[in-house]
């Protein structure tokens, strides 16, 4: 209701076609648990949208709906013009190929080299299973190395992935996502396991990539300061509902903290604070 109104009001990407479009999306886990509660959200090309909210507020669930790792109970999710809920098999894989995803735990294959991990980002472009770096075409390996250079880790290409620090592993994960040549990049708490300095590095990297490639980024975070520093727009979630959706420009720390405050208080009071 009010959340949707705010989405329209914030339309900072007006004029470009929407990249991600949630229309009345509800996700139930069992009869009692609501993952997402009537979420409507429109994201335009090149926007960096930061999702804020407590653990369990639905940030990950929302991101996972974007590339169909989870499907809505009701409502529709359209991404890059494709109805995610209706896509199956190869159509879904084709869509996922256009969406990069970076996870909190990096989720690299630790026993493999950094370069091979980056190459796995191109699996959607090659046919058949691949095991081992030599099974990827040279052109792909060269491209992977360029992405590694871009995230500043070209010199680590042939190390085992688990020998890198957390921040470095997350940059490898970003390079793996870049390898997909994505049009949308999802990041699920990409810096939650990192120290402050590495966090800044990773966020700066995401921002740079977004600007240079006009890549749309949806990123969930826990740190309000990072959100204000690197996001174009902040979407606050609480128990699966959007309770805040505003451009970061002119937004203060206290405005955003309202997303976290007054847990258990009624939603109306909160929205007033947010406004």
């Amino acid at each position: 209701m009010t959340g949707r109104g705010r989405t329209d009001g914030s339309a900072n990407g007006a004029g470009t076609p929407p990249v991600v479009e949630f229309a009345g999306v509800t996700k139930r886990f069992g009869p009692d648990v609501l993952g997402l509660d009537d979420v409507s959200l429109t994201v335009h090309t090149g926007e960096v949208v930061v999702l804020l909210g407590l653990s369990g507020s639905g940030k990950s669930t929302l991101l996972r709906h974007v590339d169909g790792l989870q499907l809505p109970t009701s409502g529709t999710v359209r991404v890059l013009g494709v109805d995610v809920g209706a896509a199956r098999g190869s159509e879904l894989r084709a869509l996922r190929r256009r969406i990069g995803f970076v996870f909190q735990q990096f989720d690299l294959v630790g026993s493999r080299t950094v370069l091979e991990n980056v190459c796995t980002g191109a699996l959607g472009r090659v046919r058949g299973p691949r095991l081992g770096l030599p099974t990827y075409p040279r052109a792909l390996r060269r491209e992977a190395l360029e992405h590694l250079d871009r995230v500043g880790l070209g010199d680590r290409a042939f190390q085992r992935a688990d020998t890198l620090s957390g921040g470095q592993q997350q940059r490898v994960a970003v390079a793996r996502a870049l390898m997909q040549r994505p049009e949308v990049l999802l990041a699920d708490e990409p810096v939650a396991s990192l120290d402050p300095e590495s966090s800044e590095q990773v966020m700066a990297l995401l921002k740079t990539i977004s600007r240079e490639n006009s890549l749309t980024v949806l990123c969930s975070l826990h740190q309000v300061d990072l959100a204000l520093g690197w996001g174009d727009r902040i979407v606050g979630l609480r128990t699966g509902r959007t309770v805040l959706d505003l451009p970061t420009a002119g937004l203060g720390r206290d405005d955003v903290m309202a997303v976290y405050s007054g847990v258990g208080a009624d939603a109306g009071a909160l929205l007033t604070t947010a406004g």
Binding site: D32, V33, L34, D67, L69, R93, A94, L95, R96, R97, R98, I99, G100, F101, F103, Q105, F106, D107, L108, V109, G110, S111, R112, T113, L115, T120, G121, A122, L123, G124, G128, P129, R130, L131, L133, P134, R138, R141, R142, L145, E146, L148, D149, G152, G154, D155, A157, F158, R160, D162, T163, A173, R176, A177, M179, Q180, L186, T239, G264
Partner: protein
């Protein structure tokens, strides 16, 4: 929406209410214990039997000594043949197990039907004893290596397939999910995200089974699988104990040597930290290579005037240029890559040597295929030859032997295993000493234990039960020690901090945490003991195995089939009972 509901309405009880199914489970366990005690008494396993047997042992020693070893080349030939068969059998079962495990693991299976189908195949493979398969295959492929390879290879799928599936389910789901998110297909996800993290475990499990198969292969010699077991069976059949026992000693040494080698490889595979230092042979190799590559870099610097690798780390602008250098698209031949390639080459060489030494050829297999139907026809329909009552009685004896052996194994293993656990033993020295005892017992094949006890107690069930019981210490003692060591140290520290004594901590924190795993292991032991009891019956240690081999010798294949079905049903029943019980602890 989920408002936290406090446990305000909790009943004022001082003991937890046990659930119905866990109560039943406890009663079932008690019933099994009672049955084991009854079996122990009914088989007359007691001191008197051993005292009576002592004079037989003296007589036996007189007939055995001096030992008559065959010439060394002959010993080496027999060992080589046995090893070749065992290696090929284990290889066959790992090859069959990988796809089965991928279908059976919940994280990689395409659907429920394939998962249940694969699980069922694995259980069936486990329930059909290898000796039974060997008896059938001897009819089809004749006496030789192929019979052994197929019998052990197919039966091992029951263990390897299950452990592979467990290993697959245990890996972190993160990397496979990340690959799904890139748009990878199921096969790509498995090859890229599932296989790399489980490969070390796969190899370690295979090596573990190799140790087991080596022991089994000796028994299979008695039903016509070539190698050292065949030679032992030949000697014992003509009562040439001097030669037979000498060969048994050779087997003992072979088993211990293989166990030590495979144990070292397993530790290196599973224990080596990601970037940890390499040890042993591989360590020496990598140090050697390190020196050489350092020399190589030195000359390169002189030639080009540019140390590319070193400058790359300093100047980010050079990195992109370097990206286009063709040579950098493949990993450099550093120490790790060279040692990996060396191991691969050694493995390949061992496999080729095994194929040559065992004399197995695909042609032999193909030639035998047309005979399969005719040979299988011999085994049908199942017949009882009027022996059904006697067979049932013998089956009961086999189950009794397994129960009593498990009881003996548990009674011996719990203290030995606990003392071998480093976090329980009073001093590290005690722990090491008991670890050594366990290792030595593991090294002795059950067959040799059985022969020793057959000598001491005479032919019959007591020998089988005691041999299996003592042999179980090698398996269960190690698992008990490992389970106790794996117990999370946190609660133990917490209890020590409250001022608890060593024994209080052991019973309040260590035992409860390890109990679940130990119950599962004991049930697994009972399961294997039923199969082993059947096996040992073949060498005269009591039970239905003796009827099985006798029926096969007099070509009463219908009776063989009946016995097979009986054993299969029994093992399956125990297996299902074990699965049911494991879920409730």
């Amino acid at each position: 929406m989920a408002a936290p509901t406090a446990g305000a309405g909790a009943p004022q009880r001082l003991a937890a209410r046990p659930s119905a199914s866990s109560t039943v489970a406890v009663f079932v366990l008690l019933a099994i214990l009672a049955a084991a005690l009854w079996a122990f008494a009914d088989l007359r396993i007691n001191v008197a039997t051993f005292v009576d047997g002592s004079h037989q042992a003296v007589a036996f020693a007189r007939r055995t000594l001096p030992l008559d070893f065959p010439p060394l080349p002959e010993i080496l030939r027999l060992c080589g043949q046995t090893l070749a068969i065992v290696i090929l059998a284990t290889l066959l079962s790992t090859i069959l197990s990988v796809p089965l495990a991928l279908l059976a693991a919940t994280t990689t299976t395409p659907n429920d039907a394939s998962r249940l189908g694969a699980r069922a195949l694995i259980v069936v493979a486990r329930a059909v004893p290898d000796v039974v398969l060997a008896i059938v295959f001897v009819r089809i492929f004749g006496i030789g290596a192929l019979t052994g390879v197929l019998a052990m290879g197919l039966h091992s799928v029951g263990m390897i397939g299950k452990m592979y599936a467990d290993a697959i389910e245990q890996i972190d789901a993160g990397a496979p999910t990340a690959l799904t998110a890139t748009g990878a297909t199921r096969l790509q996800r498995i090859a890229g995200g599932v296989l790399p993290p489980v490969l070390p475990a796969f190899v370690a499990i295979g090596l573990h089974r190799l140790d087991i198969n080596l022991r089994v292969s000796v028994v299979l010699g008695f039903v016509g699988v070539q190698g050292i077991g065949f030679a032992i069976a030949d000697s014992l059949a003509v009562l040439d104990y001097q030669r037979g026992i000498a060969l048994a000693l050779v087997v003992l040494v072979l088993c211990i040597v293989v166990e030590l080698i495979s144990g070292a490889i397993r530790t290196a595979l599973l224990g080596r930290a990601a970037a940890g230092p390499l040890r042993g042979i591989s360590g020496g190799l990598s140090r050697l290579v390190h020196v050489r590559s350092a020399i190589g870099r030195h000359t390169e610097r002189r030639d080009d005037g540019l140390d590319l690798d070193a400058d790359l780390t300093r100047d980010p602008r050079l990195r992109s240029a370097a990206a286009l250098v063709e040579g950098r698209l493949a990993p450099p031949w550093d120490a790790r890559r060279i040692s990996a390639a060396t191991y691969t080459a050694i493995t390949a060489a061992v496999l080729v040597a095994s194929v040559v030494a065992s004399g197995v050829s695909p042609l032999e297999f193909l030639e035998a295929l047309p005979r399969v139907l005719a040979s299988l026809g011999l085994f049908l329909p199942p017949e009882t030859a009027g022996l059904f009552g006697a067979l049932l009685e013998q089956l009961l004896v086999t189950v009794q032997i397994a129960l009593a052996a498990t009881l003996i194994g548990v009674v011996l293993s719990l203290p030995i295993g606990a003392l071998a656990a480093r976090n329980v033993a009073p001093t590290p020295g005690v722990a090491n000493a008991f670890r050594l005892v366990i290792l030595l017992i593991r090294g002795i094949p059950e067959l040799i234990l059985a022969i020793v006890f057959v000598v001491i107690t005479g032919l019959g069930q007591v020998a089988g039960a005691v041999a299996l019981g003592v042999g179980a210490v090698g398996f269960l003692g190690k698992l008990v020690a490992d389970s106790l060591e794996e117990v999370d140290a946190g609660p133990q520290r917490a209890l020590l901090a409250t001022g608890g004594s060593r024994s209080q901590v052991f019973f309040a924190a260590t035992v409860p945490a390890g109990a679940r795993a130990i119950v599962a292991h004991v049930l697994y032991l009972l399961d294997t003991n039923i199969r082993s009891a059947t096996l040992l019956g073949i060498v005269g240690a009591g039970g239905i195995g003796f009827y099985l081999i006798s029926a096969a010798r007099v070509l009463e294949f219908g009776v063989v089939t009946t016995i097979l079905i009986m054993i299969f049903c029994t093992v399956l029943l125990v297996e299902l009972l074990a699965i049911w019980l494991r879920d409730r602890f």
